[in-house]
């Protein structure tokens, strides 16, 4: 089954600041572990919301709202897509991610009509 991990943004990621060298190394090691375990299918960091936009749908009207977005809870700074044998395995991998400082990372299962569910 597949999972998406959503990594929230923060003022630094919104400012487009690069993470420190230690942080980068820890993250690159973690990514390497995921690849070597055959778990990682895809993943990327997202540019700050100032490069993004929203489209508002009202009847037939479409309104484009340019970034940056201000509500902190809406900010997503990156994602992974993992293939795991179970939700518990995905949780176990997520627990090993190099985060700290009270950050909360969201794990969601993909509703991708996974044929494995029939087995």
């Amino acid at each position: 089954m597949r999972f998406m991990v959503l990594v929230p943004g923060n003022p630094e990621s919104e400012a487009g600041a690069m993470p420190g060298a230690d942080e980068l190394e820890a993250m690159s090691n973690y990514n390497e572990e995921l690849v070597k375990a055959g778990v990682m299918l895809a993943g990327a960091g997202l540019l700050p919301t100032s490069k993004g936009a929203k489209v508002r749908f009202e009847g037939r009207e479409r309104t484009v709202i340019d970034g940056p977005f201000t509500e902190a809870k809406e900010l997503v700074a990156g994602y992974w897509i993992w293939e795991c044998a179970s939700r518990d395995e995905a949780l176990e991998w997520l627990k090993r991610a190099p985060f700290g400082g009270g950050i909360e990372i969201e794990l969601r299962q993909l509703d991708d009509d996974d044929p494995a569910a029939q087995d």
Partner: protein, 419 residues
């Protein structure tokens, strides 16, 4: 944490850690059987202790340390019990190896150990069935009941297969190593074969009541991805992974709502998995860049890629597929490849040309009981309007077919030919 939640978490840790743990222990004790016993002991210890103590920060290191400590304790106890007799040399040796001061294993070392273990479980001294069972067990982290389910055998048979395989490896003194240059190509092809056997048993089950068994495809894909990370410079490793990802991208379009088989031509291509297609195409490109002449898996991936890129059967680049099959046939000499080539020739140049090739395969001993030969023949006869002959061919194909849903499909095609 509730006990059941902890047990599920321990299962997850086992799934993540078991291959590395067994590989690391095999390096120390040089015997997969002993290594697996030690790893299992550590798992039992985790099941006893973690519900109370919580899951340690580094579960992999905990399991390794526990496995070694338990091994030492058990061997010491036997030394005490049997001290009047001379301890057999082998056990003493294992004790000494386990008792060495803890070496901090680097990540790369552990990865090398996993690679050595793969070459061991896919060693040609074992039968193909034994290789598959042992690889699923030691590298896939599957339990015996899971292996039994995967291979459609009883648990007793699965256990026996694994036990015998481990004994054979020990008796043949198969070394724990990545083969040297001179034999690497042959040994690697044995490894790829095992992974593809697992995949195919999931992709087109040869027996049973399910047409596809995606969990097995998942196990094979995972092994393929692990191997691609371990041997990033081997084109055929990427070729096999690309082939499996491209084929797996069609899995959910391959079964109808009632579990019936759906042929490529009838599949809803919108249901193909874009992420797997994209990964497969990228993997194929990597394989092609690393290759001199394309190997058999890369060629098959290139064929699968022709389908993945096409919006419909009509828009498929059939002449290119024929050319790729020409290459594959020259490389493998396999009659099954010739049969597939005949299908591609039909699509590119019409059913007469295809039927000529299929009929040339009629006396091929390797295809005598192969249901796809009459199935393809029936298909071509339908296209040529020779329905009575087609009907007989589909009935013959259904008789030979061991898979429930696929047999149903063949019988329905026979019925569609009228009486």
């Amino acid at each position: 944490m509730a006990a059941s939640a902890t047990h599920r978490a321990i299962d997850a840790v086992w799934r993540i850690e078991s291959a590395r743990l067994i590989a690391g222990l095999t390096r120390i004790v040089r015997d997969v059987s002993v290594a697996e016993d030690l790893a299992q002991d550590a798992l039992v210890a985790a099941l006893e202790q973690w519900p109370e103590s919580g899951i340690p920060d580094n579960p992999g290191a905990w399991l390794m340390a526990t496995a070694k400590r338990r091994g030492i304790d058990a061997l010491r106890r036997r030394v005490t019990l049997e001290r009047k007799q001379e301890l057999i040399g082998r056990e003493l040796q294992i004790l000494q190896q386990l008792d060495q001061p803890e070496l901090v294993a680097q990540v790369d070392d552990v990865q090398d150990d996993v690679l050595r273990l793969i070459f061991m479980t896919c060693h040609p001294v074992l039968s193909r069935k034994a290789r598959v069972a042992l690889t699923l067990r030691l590298l896939g982290g599957l339990s015996t009941p899971e292996i039994a389910r995967a291979l459609l055998v009883s648990e007793g048979t699965a256990t026996q297969r694994v036990v015998r395989a481990k004994r054979t490896l020990a008796e043949a003194h198969v070394p724990f190593e990545v083969p040297g240059r001179d034999e690497l190509a042959d040994r690697l092809s044995a490894v790829l074969e095992v992974i593809y056997l697992v995949f195919n048993e999931g992709y087109a089950a040869t027996a049973g009541e399910h047409w596809i068994r995606p969990a097995l495809c998942g196990d094979a894909l995972r092994l393929g991805r692990v191997l691609a990370a371990l041997m990033p410079r081997e084109p055929e490793v990427h070729g096999l992974l690309a082939l499996m990802e491209l084929q797996a991208s069609r899995l959910r379009a391959r079964v109808g709502p009632q579990g019936e088989a759906v042929r490529l031509a009838d599949q809803d291509r919108a249901r193909w998995d874009r992420l797997l297609v994209q990964r497969g195409l990228a993997g194929l490109q990597r394989a092609e860049q690393l290759s001199g002449a394309l190997g058999p898996y890369t060629l098959q991936a290139a064929i699968a890629a022709c389908h993945a890129r096409a919006r419909s059967v009509e828009q498929t680049d059939w002449p290119r597929i024929v050319a790729l099959y020409d290459g594959l046939a020259a490389l493998t000499g396999s009659p099954v490849v010739e049969l597939n080539r005949a299908v591609a020739v039909t699509m590119a140049f019409g059913p007469e040309a295809g039927l000529e090739l299929v009929d040339a395969l009629a006396d091929e001993p390797a295809l005598r009981d192969y249901h796809l030969l009459p199935s393809v023949r029936g298909d071509l006869l339908v296209r040529l309007g020779r329905v009575a002959e087609a009907r007989a061919a589909f009935v013959r194909a259904a008789d030979l077919c061991g898979n429930g849903p696929e047999r149903e499909l063949l019988l329905s095609r026979a019925v569609a030919c009228g009486t």
